[in-house]
């Protein structure tokens, strides 16, 4: 395997409402920031992650290329997934050995539509989508199956929102309160907020990484695993695919200082903590995590970026970035990074 590292990360100051910027306008500042941090204007490979259903237009991701300057033609790809999977594709591409740098970015404006119902469109069209099963409803089924203590969920949200308020890029959300249910057992504050935002990461291989950055976040393991889509075919109380991805990425081979988990609902944190076998001493989501800012399609990449940034900053020496996709943590990607 080639040594590959995250050498730069940038994100927007995420917003709970539409600030009037188009997607290319949203992505340009983080792209500029990572280009400035690395001094690179051209990359051996470029890959992005986004979802056309967020904008309601086919091939909407193509317009984001306007922020790149794709002329003369560049080597480029796109995943209709969270951009964490674009990072995975870029890592695989760099393994080929013929290019040394990759630009990865993701963006999403979920303020434009109804995210709960847009997420219904990802469900199988025979058995689930016709029921009108929305995102919060199926997440509540998982929360119910996981039987997590209410006080623990409240504490997770309280901690995430407090950390989010301390993070200039996340939303300022108050301490959780109120006893109404959105879909029981989930309360409104258990749900990641609707957020617009974007993020970018630069990967570099070997010596280039050492040139570009003082303390690269070396990717020592990266793996993703998926389980059956249909909710009734799996044990929703645990995440077998996250556990398997963590094993494949070697998450348990050393102490994890920080784990940034793609928790779009508070009950997903204990499920993922268990799957990744994280000890109490691992700090989870110091950025506030998705419960404090959830720019869909960038959220997973931001987990990798935030976890990498702790190493770039010198604050941690071994971290994990986790990303998830599909209903009820169906698909999980684990990235292990070391100084």
């Amino acid at each position: 395997m080639r040594e590959i590292a995250v050498v730069a990360f940038a994100q927007t100051r995420h917003s709970a409402t539409d600030q009037g910027q188009s997607e290319p306008e949203l992505i340009l500042p983080p792209l500029d920031e990572v280009r400035e941090k690395t001094g690179l204007r051209k990359f051996g490979f470029t890959c992005s992650g986004s979802c056309d259903y967020l904008a309601g237009a086919p091939f909407s991701f193509v317009s984001a290329l306007d922020a790149l300057g794709a002329w003369p033609p560049i080597s480029e790809s796109h995943v209709e997934m969270d951009a964490a999977w674009a990072l995975y594709e870029a890592w695989v591409r760099l393994q080929h050995g013929d290019v040394d740098s990759a630009l990865v970015y993701g963006f999403g404006k979920s303020s434009q539509g109804d995210l709960r119902e847009i997420m219904t469109l990802q469900l199988d069209p025979y058995y689930l989508a016709p029921l009108g099963l929305d995102q919060v409803s199926y997440a509540a089924l998982q929360a119910s199956a996981a039987k997590v203590d209410r006080a623990r969920l409240d504490e997770i949200v309280r901690r995430s929102r407090a950390d989010g308020r301390a993070n200039p890029y996340a939303l300022d959300l108050p301490d959780p309160g109120g006893d109404a249910f959105e879909v029981e057992p989930l309360r409104p504050y258990d749900i990641a907020p609707v957020t617009d935002g974007a993020a970018a990461v630069v990967l570099a291989a070997g010596d280039l990484a050492r040139e570009l950055c003082e303390r690269p976040a070396w990717i020592t393991g990266i793996a993703h695993r998926i389980e059956p889509h249909y909710l009734g075919m799996r044990d929703l109380a645990r995440s077998a695919s996250a556990a398997e991805a963590a094993r494949a990425a070697g998450a348990g081979k050393g102490h994890v200082d920080v784990a940034e988990l793609h928790t779009q609902f508070s009950h997903e944190e204990p499920i993922l903590r268990q799957a990744l076998e994280l000890p109490e001493s691992t700090v989870v989501n110091p950025s506030g995590g998705p419960l404090a800012a959830n720019p869909v399609m960038a959220t997973g990449l931001i987990r990798v970026g935030e976890a990498a940034q702790r190493i770039l900053d010198g604050a941690a020496s071994r971290t994990i970035g986790h990303a998830s996709s599909g209903p009820c943590l169906q698909h999980n990607l684990v990235t292990v990074m070391e100084a």
Binding site: D134, A140, P185, Y230
Partner: protein, 295 residues
């Protein structure tokens, strides 16, 4: 100026999707009002049927078996406010339902009426649509199995109070409490009675007691009662002065949390013109303001 446009993404008439033989069989049986699962090579029954065994990736066998129609709720979530796209327009549960004979669970709605009716292990059955077209929504929802019925009971009586109670209520109509003293044990009972429950002998001596007394014990009732003047209300045992056995009454004119044992109280009578031969003559007992009595 804020520029905004309304945009709708829609595929007119919807996508046409082929079902393939496995899903197609399930939907065809569904249209006929039957639920089937498909057998895997390992002998598990997948409901709803999938083309491939999620455990092994192997193609499933061609064997379909009827399952359900009853099933057991494994876990559930409760929708308090249904959305436009939801299958029911009233609060309902989403549930993972293990149909009898299946090795996997079906996701569907349960029309349980109230969240309190939901629990893991709840037995449910499909409520079929009259017009079925071969869609998962041919089952409108699942409904709980019948485990109880409501049996109305009503019959009418004409009751007289008995001689002792009639005498007592006669006194209440006149604004006094009539009691009696046992000739053997000398206890004074209120309300008036014709025999001593302790000695088992007839009582002949009638006594009148004042409408003041002391609370010996009490309960705060938070459940609405059509006969209660307000909620919460306090019912208390009041030992009328000069009597030996307390009488149960309402206590009012004081905050429920201030009521205490030993509190001195007096009957609050309704105005004379409203009085009848009934305990309704006494609105309640209210504190007199005297120091508490030793019990």
């Amino acid at each position: 100026m804020t520029l905004e446009a309304r945009h709708v993404l829609e595929f007119p008439g919807g996508y046409t999707r082929t079902t393939g033989p496995v899903i197609g069989r399930f939907l065809t049986e569904l249209r006929d009002g039957r639920l089937v699962g498909v057998r895997t090579a390992g002998g598990r029954t997948l409901v709803p049927p999938l083309e491939y065994d999620p455990g092994t990736g192997d193609a499933v066998t061609g064997e379909f078996v009827e399952v359900g129609p009853a099933g057991t709720v494994e876990s559930w979530s409760w929708v308090h406010a249904p959305r436009a796209g939801h299958p029911l327009d009233r609060p309902f549960a989403w549930a993972l339902i293990r149909l009898d004979g299946a090795d996997t669970s079906l996701v569907h709605a349960v029309d349980a009426g109230d969240v309190k009716a939901m629990r893991p292990g709840l037995r449910v059955r499909p409520r079929w649509r009259a017009e079925r077209t071969g869609q998962i929504t041919d089952i409108e929802s699942f409904v709980p199995e019948v485990t109880k019925i409501v049996s109305p009971v009503r019959t009418e009586y004409v009751l007289k109070p008995g001689l002792a109670l009639a005498r007592f209520l006669e006194g209440v109509a006149a604004g006094v409490f009539v009691g009696c003293r046992c000739g053997s044990c000398h206890k004074v009972y209120v309300p008036y009675r014709l025999s001593c429950p302790e000695c088992g002998i007839a009582i002949t001596e009638e006594v009148e007691v004042p409408d003041t007394g002391t609370i010996t014990t009490f309960a705060i009732n938070n459940l609405p009662d059509p006969r209660a003047p307000e909620v919460p209300f306090v019912s208390a045992y009041v030992l009328l002065d000069g009597s030996d056995v307390p009488m149960i009454t309402l206590v009012g004119g004081v905050a429920a949390h201030e009521v205490r044992q030993g509190m001195r109280v007096r009957a609050v009578w309704v105005p004379e013109e409203e009085r009848t031969a009934s305990m309704a003559n006494i609105k309640w007992f209210a504190p007199t303001g005297e120091p508490d009595a030793e019990l």
